[in-house]
């Protein structure tokens, strides 16, 4: 490219740094870089001495951080005798982590600089040798294979091959059979919860049976059947909500399921089995925080939004003479997520 205008052309705008100058600077840089790549530290022995010191200093600093790690390990003690447990743990974590980071960083950076500044690292070219075989080798291998099969009589003695395969099959089934005792048959397990006829409704947090008057209108409590624990009966948790009596719209067969406006619904989402976590008083909606299925309590926990396809099963409850709530029996349908045999 021409820099000086000729034949009457007038340059009227020039960039501050001419392309030539930029190119020259880039060329200088490339030359220096190429020298470093080709010769490493030998390119400039004086610079190499300096760089050697720099890299060694990084390695030494890494060692110091390593010592710091050991000091932090022994100096910061854990446990209640040494101050606030969480504070101590976090302090120890920070000290150990940062010293470890420092040590690794210094050593890693040192090696990188070693390569970049002191090791020759020229670009080299290597041929890709074919790793596949020649056609002759392939044919020869196939011929050898066939010869072996022929000698073993695989083709000629079908009885041998057949009986070998037949003899192996039971052994292949055995490991599957061995896994049979990995768990019980589902049987009717998924159809039942721990609720039974006459069970009191036990407040999960206090462990006390729920009595009329304990719940204010608009509030709710998670209840379990008597004698059951959430750890063992993970599908039994049930929500007891107190509505205003007129808010409960009874349907046929469920006229008496809401004594004094108290309704009980299984807490396990019919979608993926999370416990329904949130109740919005204003809209009377139960909300599952896992996948946002929303159930309307005023419509017998019909699904109003989200991926759940079925309402939450309702538990029939009644008030006994002493004012305790009791279950009239188990849920009348399987609770929780759907499964093939659910029907």
């Amino acid at each position: 490219m021409s820099e000086t205008p000729s034949n009457g052309e007038t340059p009227i705008v020039r960039p501050r740094r001419s392309p030539a100058a930029i190119r020259a600077a880039a060329d200088d840089f490339r030359t220096a870089d190429a020298q470093l790549r080709a010769a490493g530290g030998d390119a400039d022995p004086k610079a190499a001495k300096r760089n050697e010191l720099l890299v060694s200093a990084l390695f030494a600093l890494g060692g110091l951080f390593g010592v710091g790690f050991l000091v932090a390990y022994f100096a910061i003690k854990l446990g209640p005798k040494h101050g606030d447990v969480l504070d101590q743990a976090l302090k120890s974590n920070l000290a150990l982590g940062l010293t470890l980071t420092g040590a690794l960083l210094c050593l890693g950076a040192g090696v990188v600089l070693w390569v970049k500044l002191l090791m020759p690292h020229p670009q080299v070219t290597e041929d890709r040798h074919d790793f596949f075989s020649t056609e002759e080798d392939r044919l020869a291998a196939a011929a050898d294979f066939n010869r072996g099969a022929e000698e073993a009589g695989v083709g000629r003695r079908p009885l041998l091959v057949g009986s070998l395969l037949a003899g192996t099959v039971p052994l292949l089934v055995a490991p599957i059979a061995l896994l049979r005792d990995a768990g019980p048959m589902p049987g009717k397990t998924l159809r039942h919860t721990a609720w039974f006829k006459g069970s009191k409704l036990i407040d999960l947090t206090t462990g006390e049976p729920v009595k009329l008057g304990m719940l204010a209108v608009g509030s709710l409590v998670t209840v379990m059947p008597e004698g059951a624990t959430v750890e063992e009966d993970a599908t039994s948790p049930t929500i007891l909500i107190r509505l205003r009596p007129e808010e409960y719209k009874p349907v046929k067969g469920k006229e008496n399921w809401a004594p004094e406006g108290h309704v009980a619904y299984n807490k396990i989402c019919t979608h993926a089995g999370c416990p329904i976590g949130l109740y919005e008083q204003q809209t009377h909606q139960l909300f599952c925080p896992c996948h946002q299925s929303t159930f309307n309590v005023l419509e017998h926990c019909k699904v109003v939004f989200g991926p759940a396809a079925r309402p939450l099963p309702q538990l029939e409850i009644y008030l006994d003479d002493e004012g305790y709530f009791r279950a009239a029996g188990d849920f009348n349908q399987p609770v929780g997520p759907s499964f093939w045999e659910r029907g």
């Binding site: 490219m1 034949n7 052309e9 007038t10 009227i12 705008v13 390990y73 854990l78 446990g79 209640p80 969480l86 743990a89 974590n93 920070l94 150990l96 982590g97 940062l98 470890l100 690794l104 960083l105 050593l107 040192g110 090696v111 090791m119 690292h121 670009q123 080299v124 070219t125 290597e126 041929d127 890709r128 596949f132 896994l179 990995a182 768990g183 019980p184 589902p186 998924l190 998670t222 959430v230 750890e231 599908t235 807490k267 979608h271 993926a272 089995g273 416990p275 976590g277 599952c288 896992c290 996948h291 946002q292 699904v303 991926p307 396809a309 997520p337 499964f339 093939w340 659910r342 029907g343």
Partner: protein, 547 residues
């Protein structure tokens, strides 16, 4: 520069002699000096994007190291205990031994919290670096023949790693992970015919299952790591054997490798990179809290916390479950819970199936049986790049949907509206992304062509004798031209067997159609440079084709 055999000479220094002695002793017994020599001189190409897989490998090593430490203190038992350890707020709370021992690791074992946090961060980075590595391999076409099987192994590694991560995340038996397991059990239950049996056998009974945490522990620390180790070894051996791909550029061809020797440069750089990856993970473990199970509390089937999000790599599955409309059918007394089966099993099954088989699908569509050692620039394969971006958009919308409750809360939006936006978006946005990406690729190709034809702008404005103003352009140098002009058509490799007449039929018709679809937008050869840049022609000359 070509490979020159290193000088052969008798060692003169003390260390040289010692190494020689040990080497001689070993070679007398095992042989292998020639193998070592080939290994030392093996050439690895250099590009920043080739380090993504390395990050995954080093994270895996760090996972093994930190994991072994954790097994010394973790007790995978669901035996119920009343906590009486050092963390005051949870004293007297009933929890499983698994949760209690995790608290113990965090508060009573020096360095325990750090190792736990590094382990968790390493798991997140492991999956992340694998994913980005996969994208690099996809968009540059590194999966093409002869490397299809290494893609398959890589895809399996990713899938198994998701399982491994989920298993590890579930072990402490905290409130968050227990909720995740409950959802997992429900997904298993939704499998037609065998779902309940399978769930009961795996969990040792109905959820939560008395056997599950100990079994998960064995799976997490023995079974899956073993499989991962095996597959990673196979992945590396194939990479070693087939040699690395490289980007096109000066001196780079389909039949050579340009880069650094394995020993000492590549080895030193690799070792340094391991230290640096470890340093980053240690820093994350030191300064960024992860999975503070003492804040979540022990698992309780009757409780759940708002804003329950899994680790990032499970987010897209959680999102797909959130977006699914409430569909369930009941035919002849049998219930199929489509709202779990489709987003939880069918969708990931189809996606992972397509992902794993992609190299074969593309090769079948394009009929390309050649060897490819030079990488594609994504813009030169507009359809593949479009499909990739389309899949990414699909994935990210599902991933965002996994946090729809957080978005609704933070931005004061209705969760219902937001869910509907995601439901529509996940179907509509990907095809749009495909079209836009393909167009962008073609635009970039044209930019390349213009650059090759006219050269760089120099910033110099000239006035011609005719009075016309032009900007002087400078032709691009040969190296750049080679890079942007490479079409990576592939060569070498065994000769494919040519069959006689190709059979007809609908499959072949489909293949042709797909081939046409794939070939659309393929770049033309790069145009020749104008000898003196843009504009130095008289108007009448410009009207005739140049050169």
């Amino acid at each position: 520069m070509t490979t020159t055999a290193p000088r052969r000479s008798k060692p003169t220094t003390m260390t040289g002699k010692a190494v020689g002695g040990v080497g001689r002793w070993a070679d007398d017994r095992f042989g292998g000096a020639s193998f070592l020599r080939r290994t030392f001189n093996k050439v690895f190409p250099d590009h920043w994007s080739f380090m993504l897989g390395e990050i995954a490998l080093y994270s895996f090593i760090i996972l093994l190291l930190t994991g072994v430490f954790l097994t010394f203190f973790f007790d995978p038992s669901i035996k119920e205990v009343v906590y009486n350890g050092s963390y005051e707020p949870l004293k007297g709370v009933k929890m499983t031994q698994a949760f209690a021992s995790t608290l113990n690791i965090s508060f009573d074992v020096r360095g325990g919290l750090l190792i736990r946090q590094i382990h968790h961060w390493a798991a997140l980075i492991f999956v992340a670096s694998m994913s980005v590595h996969l994208l690099r391999v996809f968009f540059t076409g590194a999966f093409r023949k002869p490397r299809e099987m290494n893609w398959v192994i890589g895809a399996l590694l990713l899938q198994i790693s998701l399982l491994e991560g989920f298993a590890g995340y579930s072990l402490p038996d905290d409130l968050l992970s227990g909720t995740g397991l409950r959802i997992g059990f429900s997904i298993v239950e939704s499998i037609p015919v065998i779902g309940t049996y399978f769930g009961f056998f795996v969990f040792g009974g109905n959820y939560p299952g008395p056997q599950f945490i100990p079994r998960l522990f064995t799976i997490h620390i023995l079974l899956i790591p073993g499989i991962l180790l095996l597959l990673i070894s196979a992945h590396m051996m194939l990479l070693w054997h087939q040699k690395h791909t490289q980007f096109p550029g000066p001196g780079k061809t389909e039949t050579n490798v340009v880069g650094h020797r394995f020993y000492p440069v590549f080895m030193a750089k690799g070792g340094a990179f391991f230290l640096l990856v470890f340093a980053v993970l240690a820093f994350l473990g030191a300064a960024f809290q992860i999975n503070p199970i003492w804040l979540y509390g022990p698992y309780n089937p009757a409780q759940v916390s708002a804003g329950s999000q899994p680790d990032w790599y499970i987010g897209w599955l959680d999102g797909s479950i959130r977006l699914m409309p409430p569909i369930e059918t009941n035919i002849a007394g049998h219930t199929i819970s489509w709202n779990l089966l489709v987003p939880g099993l069918v969708l990931p099954g189809v996606i992972f199936g397509l992902l794993t088989m992609y190299p074969f699908l593309e090769a079948w569509a394009t009929g390309d049986k050649r060897y490819h050692n030079l990488l594609d620039r994504p813009r030169n394969r507009p359809v593949r790049t479009g499909l990739g971006v389309m899949s990414l958009v699909f994935y990210f919308i599902l991933w965002l949907a996994g946090g729809n409750d957080i978005f609704a809360h933070v931005f004061h939006l209705s969760i219902n509206t937001l869910t509907w936006i995601f439901r529509v978006g996940v179907i509509v946005a990907p095809p749009i992304a495909f079209v836009i990406t393909k167009r962008l690729c073609i635009g970039l190709q044209r930019k390349d062509a213009a650059l090759a034809e006219h050269g760089h702008e120099t910033g110099i404005i000239k006035r011609l004798p005719s009075g016309e103003y032009i900007e002087v352009h400078e032709p691009i140098d040969a190296g750049l031209r080679e890079f942007i002009g490479a079409r990576a058509e592939g060569e070498g490799g065994p000769k494919p067997i040519t069959r006689g007449k190709r059979p007809g039929g609908p499959l072949v018709a489909a293949q042709r159609k797909l081939g046409g679809f794939y070939g659309d937008g393929a770049p033309a050869p790069l145009p020749e440079a104008h000898h003196n840049g843009h504009g130095e022609h008289h108007p009448e000359e410009l009207e005739t084709p140049v050169d």
